[in-house]
């Protein structure tokens, strides 16, 4: 390695074979470049998919009543189940040790919504203060509905960011503006942000106001809860499933629904969904490992081919050197020394360029399901080492062969 004469001989060879060196280097560098970019995008897609699934609070549980499909205790199927305030209050009290937050919700229907002269077509929902946390909505401006609003049945509204950009683009801030719901003015007190535009097209008002002002009586459309976070994922899933089953059992009893009539009282847990999603990400992970390994194999084959061709091309030169007294190992060492040197320099050049590109461009990429493509430096570094090793091995075989055969055979090579 520190044989100065050999270094000189190798630099000589590289200098005098600029094109060959350049082409070898270029293909190795571009191979690594493509590989790293691919790995980066694999990571980006994983990040993106993960992001898509992060919408609601991960421990949320949702209750949706439906229509019975089974006869039970003398009651005919086809009965629509209607939840009422009492259901929410009782279950909240019953499960208060398990529940972290809860909110019932009512969809206000058959109302007109106006902003000044403009008619709006957004849905109005009555919710409780906790709903912000259940939906995992963050406040951009102002505040969400609070307990005080609930108690006083305040005429206040919280709008989604999409509504703000679509409707309130002429005012500095929608806060303090009024929307009229069926002629009743509601003061806007906050703007929330969600992961998805669709979920930003809602106007939230206190549930008490929704029931009182729009003939809601004590009816509610659904209920949602969050459970306290648990460190261990499997425990969290178990807790969610437990709660879900207890809740369903309780509500089925109250509403006289057959225990196996799940459609009549649907309880959905994000945790359970998450479990499915974790399975999914594992598959995605596997898929990208597969893609990555295939890419690396392609890279290995590419680099190996180049090395084999380069060495093959030099068979005659090897013969000449041997005729002049080069020992087999000095031939092998010279060829490998040169190829490792060239592959390493170009490999790391490709690595640096691709990582720089990912660093610069990655955070600015705004495509669905791709988020911040990046690559683990250790992984990329090892990949370069693998390719160098592969190139070395691939170069070694023909070099070794050429060094071992009778000199005249190498000399005969055209």
């Amino acid at each position: 390695m520190f044989d100065l004469e050999r270094w000189q001989e190798i630099f000589d060879t590289i200098r005098k074979n600029k094109l060959r060196t350049f082409l070898t280097g270029l293909s190795v560098a571009s191979g690594i470049f493509i590989l790293v970019i691919l790995l980066g995008f694999g990571q980006g897609m994983r990040n993106g998919i993960e992001q898509e699934f992060k919408q609601d609070a991960s421990t949320s549980v949702w209750v949706w009543p439906g229509v019975t499909s089974k006869e039970y205790k003398g009651l005919n199927p086809g009965r629509r189940i209607q939840l009422v305030n009492e259901n929410f209050d009782r279950s909240s009290a019953m499960f208060k040790n398990t529940i972290e937050r809860g909110s019932s919700r009512i969809f206000v229907r058959g109302v007109s919504v106006n902003y000044g002269k403009e008619a709006l077509i957004y849905g109005v929902q009555g919710v409780a203060s906790d709903f912000q946390f259940i939906e995992n909505a963050s406040m951009l401006e102002g505040r969400f509905i609070n307990y005080q609003d609930e108690v006083s049945a305040g005429k206040v509204a919280v709008i989604g960011n999409k509504i703000k950009t679509d409707v309130f683009n002429k005012v500095d801030s929608p806060i303090g503006e009024f929307v009229e719901i069926s002629g009743i003015p509601f003061k806007i007190i906050g703007v929330y942000k969600e992961m998805e535009d669709r979920e930003e097209e809602r106007i939230y008002i206190p549930i008490t106001t929704a029931q009182k002002a729009f003939n809601g009586g004590n009816r509610i459309n659904n209920m949602s809860f969050t459970l306290p976070p648990v460190e261990n994922f499997d425990e969290a899933v178990a807790q969610a499933i437990n709660f879900k089953d207890d809740m369903r059992e309780y509500l089925q009893q109250i509403h006289t629904v057959a225990p196996d009539d799940t459609g009549a009282m649907e309880v959905w847990s994000a945790m359970e969904e998450a479990k499915r999603y974790y399975g999914l990400t594992n598959n995605i992970k596997l898929f990208f490992w597969f893609v990555g390994i295939c890419t690396i194999i392609a890279g290995v084959v590419g680099v190996s081919n180049i090395m084999m061709i380069v060495v093959k091309e030099r068979t005659r030169e090897i013969g000449i050197r041997k005729a002049l007294g080069a020992k087999p190992w000095s031939i092998i060492a010279m060829i490998l020394h040169e190829s490792i040197f060239v592959t390493a320099i170009s490999g790391f050049t490709g690595l640096i360029f691709s990582m720089a590109l990912l660093e610069l461009v990655g955070p600015n990429i705004e495509v669905d399901y791709v988020l911040n493509p990046s690559v683990n430096f250790k992984v990329a570094f090892s990949t370069v080492l693998v390719l160098i090793l592969a190139g070395t091995l691939a170069g070694f075989v023909p070099a070794w062969r050429a060094a071992k055969v009778q000199v005249i055979e190498s000399l005969r090579d055209e």
């Binding site: 004469e5 041997k322 007294g325 000095s330 009778q406 000199v407």
Partner: protein, 233 residues
């Protein structure tokens, strides 16, 4: 200097075997200039390659400068080639990306001569073949005769005991051939042992002894009156 006894060599080609050398016996003394003659395919190159340890024999004895050449490791063989032998090929076999000077210096690299000394010595031999002004040129920039003179300088640079030339004039026109033979004769005049493979009568007669190969055996071996090449140059 060189002694071979009952040398055999055959090439296997699939199921067939081509018996090329069928028991060669001969001796070369120090300072001789020997032509190995024979028609094309008579085994001249094969013989020379075995003498040069570029190829192996099937059987027979070979002694070079009192060293028996048998079952040598490739490393040992490399050392002998480097110390004892210099090669001149019909197709020159220069390394195309190295300048004339660097080509001549290459055997010295394998003798572990330091770089500076290597270049001085290489320049000296390039000067002897009259190519000092062409030292920095690549082989592709040289004529056939010049390439062969570079190859001769390279063979000389290692100061070998024996020079082996396989059709050194085979790729050259007759005028250039005589120039090359003139050079070979002068090197021989200095006391170097040289073997020249050729199928050309006039080239053979510029040596001091002609060995005639036919059907894998030596059919004639005679000393001759040397024709000097100088007069044709």
């Amino acid at each position: 200097m060189i002694e071979i006894k009952d040398l055999h060599k055959s090439y296997k080609m699939g199921s067939n075997s081509l018996h090329v050398l069928k028991g060669i016996n001969f001796k070369v003394e120090e300072g001789e200039l020997v032509a190995i003659m024979g028609s094309s395919g008579s085994g001249k190159s094969t013989l020379l390659n075995i003498l040069g340890m570029l190829d192996g024999a099937d059987s027979g004895e070979y002694t070079l400068d009192n060293v028996p050449i048998k079952n040598l490791s490739e490393t040992k063989a490399a050392q002998y080639r480097n110390k004892f032998l210099g090669f001149i090929f019909q197709s020159f076999n220069l390394i195309n990306y190295k300048s004339a000077l660097e080509n001549v210096a290459l055997p010295l690299y394998y003798q572990k001569v330091p770089r500076k000394e290597r270049q001085e010595k290489a320049m000296k031999y390039l000067d002897r073949v009259g190519l000092k002004p062409w030292a920095a040129h690549l082989p592709s920039e040289l004529s056939g005769g010049q390439k062969q003179r570079v190859a001769i300088a390279r063979a000389m640079a290692a100061e070998p005991k024996v020079l082996l030339a396989d059709e050194p004039t085979g790729a050259l026109d007759s005028k250039t051939s005589y120039e090359v033979m003139d050079l070979i004769q002068k090197i021989n005049d200095d006391g170097n042992t040289i073997l020249v493979v050729t199928h050309e009568e006039d080239i053979a007669h510029m040596c001091k002894r002609i060995v005639h190969l036919k059907d894998g055996v030596i059919v004639e071996d005679k000393k001759i009156e040397q024709v000097r090449a100088e007069q044709y140059v």
